[in-house]
């Protein structure tokens, strides 16, 4: 315990620790706040001039407009929404036309927009995936929206996982656990989810940069030569240093993402956090999560990913005699899933991305985005949903990297 305490003292006396901690907290506030400013609402005033409001005022108006449709997404509400939509289109033409009156859009279409998206997606063409023409749907189609969700998932999986029946079966099994009817509460801006992912990625950079010098710095300054000759200067010191770094990273990530999530909840409202993820992302998403639990799952996996990234960086640090080289390796490790995601999309690239300790975080492809997606990885005749594969990889990697770090440090020999 004394060693742990003194190691903490040492780390906390380092200026860079406070700089990174400060940056993490500041970014959490900034990045949670920014998405709220993106919300916009436009209308025509009495003189025919278009007025645009943004931020909290825009959110209040949109929430007010969509309030009648908040709550359970029942087939009756879907049917009413469809009828309203069809009546408007019949009178004014397509909503994307310049002739469609803005105020009519605000009064009629905006309140039912989430329902329109739902219908468009689940009644999409089963062969091409093209969004449905809602003018061709009847009241009975709205009434069987949830049966259609299952059928749409089946056709989607047959299209995307044509040769993998195990993936199709698993997707159907996961979706069977999703609670219906869905729930929808207005007020959330999906940009906040992207900002959470970006914020977690920045936290990963911060924690990796903090972890890079833990062992390398002592090799570089030769402080290690003395410590290595002491009773507890090998296995115990390595275990304690790793623990301290993990605790520090945990505090940074827990505090940073905690502030981010609580601020997001406060800014967008408690109620909208109860929306089913299917009403915000794909209507046939495979997870039975509401928005709040979706964000928690994203942050939680981000936490595990950062833990694995920190441990992997510590392992590199225990092998590498240069802080700069360790930091470069650590950053490359963070960016590798993004790069692999950009250059390859096959099964192999998918496995590599999942197996990487940093695979759970990235731009465009990360655990949170995979929760909305239908990607499966295949091994022999079996298929694994990407979020499950990522979690399994993390469960193996976290203890493995910890063990390897201690082992490498213990066996390190000076040159």
């Amino acid at each position: 315990m004394r060693l742990l305490k003194l190691e903490f003292k040492r780390i906390l006396k380092t200026r860079s620790t406070w700089v990174f901690l400060g940056a993490a907290l500041l970014l959490s506030v900034l990045m949670a706040y920014i998405p709220r400013t993106f919300v916009q609402y436009s209308y025509m005033d009495d003189s025919g001039k278009q007025i645009t409001v943004s931020g909290s005022r825009a959110m209040e108006i949109i929430n007010e407009k969509q309030a009648p449709y908040a709550g359970e997404v029942t087939p009756d509400k879907v049917q009413t929404a469809l009828e309203t939509y069809q009546a408007c289109i019949a009178e004014y033409g397509p909503t994307n036309s310049e002739d469609f009156p803005l105020n009519v859009y605000n009064e009629k279409i905006l309140p039912i927009q989430p329902y329109i998206h739902l219908l468009r997606e689940v009644y999409a063409d089963s062969r091409t995936g093209t969004a449905a023409d809602l003018m061709k749907l009847g009241p009975e189609d709205a009434g069987r929206i949830y049966e259609q969700c299952r059928e749409h998932l089946d056709s989607l999986m047959k299209m995307e996982q044509k040769d993998y029946p195990d993936a199709q079966n698993k997707a159907a099994a996961y979706f069977a656990k999703v609670e219906q009817p869905y729930e929808y509460y207005p007020g959330y801006n999906k940009d906040a989810t992207d900002y959470l992912v970006l914020y977690l990625l920045l936290l990963e950079f911060i924690c990796v940069l903090l972890a890079a010098p833990v062992f390398s710095s002592d090799y570089q300054t030769k402080a290690d030569d003395i410590q290595r000759c002491t009773r507890h200067g090998r296995i115990r010191l390595a275990a304690v240093r790793t623990a301290v770094m993990l605790i520090l990273a945990s505090v940074i990530v827990a505090a940073g993402s905690g502030i981010f999530l609580l601020l997001t909840r406060a800014l967008f409202g408690e109620e909208c956090m109860g929306s089913s993820m299917q009403m915000l992302y794909s209507a046939v998403s495979l997870s039975n999560l509401d928005l709040w639990h979706l964000l928690l799952a994203g942050a939680g996996t981000g936490f595990l990913t950062i833990t694995a990234a920190v441990l992997c960086t510590l392992m590199i640090s225990s092998r590498c005699r240069s802080v700069t080289v360790t930091a470069i390796f650590g950053m490359v490790l963070c960016l590798l899933p993004v790069i692999i995601g950009q250059v390859g999309s096959g099964n192999l690239a998918g496995w590599i991305r999942c197996i990487l300790p940093t695979g759970g975080l990235g731009l465009g492809n990360c655990f949170l985005y995979e929760l909305f997606d239908f990607k499966f990885l295949h091994l022999g005749g079996r298929s694994f949903w990407v979020p499950h594969a990522m979690l399994a990889a993390l469960a193996v990697e976290i203890p493995l990297f910890w063990g390897l770090t201690v082992c490498f440090y213990n066996r390190h020999m000076a040159k």
């Binding site: 003194l6 040492r10 380092t14 030769k222 402080a223 410590q227 000759c229 000076a414």
Partner: protein, 296 residues
């Protein structure tokens, strides 16, 4: 108690830094003499277990230090030639950190730290950040950490570099007293005066090999009849310096210079044999280090 170095070798790529060194270290102060690049530091790092030998082994009381592991490190103290501190730590913080690494109980470490701060005259700077200390003070902090666990085997690599003459004297006295309690102290140095009067035994290392081992008295017999005193005209100093290995010179009042030099036979008329010292042996064996010595 004995530390046996048994046929120890270390090869770095093509260069053999330490070549088949065998030595039996017994309690007392041991001086390891050798010029820069002789292999002293490499040998010491192998004794500390921070460098893996290419061949041979180190035995403490008959058991390999690799096998002893933590037990060996528990009775071991080490001050490397170059070492890093944590710049953000104060002197006291650092010693406390090292005391914990050495497994000292809290109360004992507190007492020991206070004692060493006092003995190493570091009490006034205990709360000062190490980064702000002078080179000599940093060295003293390094010596203090090596002594924290009252090691049975103490290895000091160039411990006096950066210390002023007064500090060197205090340090020598400290080591003499420390070694008198049945401990092995090995000091690597190329400053002969550091060990000349306190070493129980000396080992001279050159080219990765031990060239000679013995007490100061035994070793200086190797240069018996090779150390001379003579006087030369001041104007001819450069000429004599080219011909002879002059180890010391002093200007005399009459425009002449008294010189002490090393040679198989007298190189100056009327030279008289001088009583050899360890430094003469060192310079005899390492003539290329004459300028190092003068610089020191």
């Amino acid at each position: 108690m004995e530390l046996i170095i048994d046929d120890l070798s270390k090869k770095f790529k093509d260069k053999e830094a330490v070549s088949h060194v065998s030595l039996k270290l017994t309690p007392g102060v041991w001086g390891l003499l050798g010029a820069n690049g002789a292999g002293k530091t490499t040998l010491m790092r192998m004794l500390g277990g921070t460098l893996k030998p290419t061949g041979g082994r180190v035995l403490y009381d008959g058991i390999s230090i690799q096998v002893l592991g933590e037990k060996y490190r528990d009775i071991f103290g080490y001050l490397p030639q170059e070492f890093g501190f944590y710049p953000e730590f104060t002197v006291r913080d650092y010693l406390e950190y090292m005391a914990v690494l050495k497994g000292l109980p809290k109360r004992r470490s507190k007492e020991k730290i206070e004692e060493l701060l006092e003995r190493m005259t570091l009490s006034d700077v205990r709360k000062k950040k190490i980064a702000k200390l002078s080179g000599g003070m940093k060295r003293r902090v390094g010596i203090a950490q090596a002594l924290l666990n009252e090691p049975e085997v103490l290895i000091l690599d160039e411990p006096t570099s950066g210390l002023d003459p007064g500090e060197r004297v205090r340090f020598r006295n400290l080591l003499s007293e420390f070694a008198s309690h049945d401990r092995i102290v090995l000091i690597s140095t190329h400053i002969v005066s550091d060990v000349e009067y306190i070493a129980t035994c000396n080992a001279v290392m050159k080219g990765g090999k031990i060239q000679a081992v013995g007490t100061t008295e035994e070793l200086v017999t190797l240069v018996n009849g090779k150390v001379w005193n003579g006087t030369i005209p001041a104007g001819q100093l450069a000429e004599y310096e080219n011909r002879l290995q002059i180890v010391n010179l002093r200007n005399e009042a009459d425009g002449r210079i008294s010189v002490r030099y090393l040679a198989e036979k007298p190189g100056i008329e009327d030279s008289v044999p001088a009583v050899p010292r360890l430094e003469d042996l060192y310079l005899w064996m390492f003539p290329e280090s004459r300028f190092d010595k003068e610089a020191d």
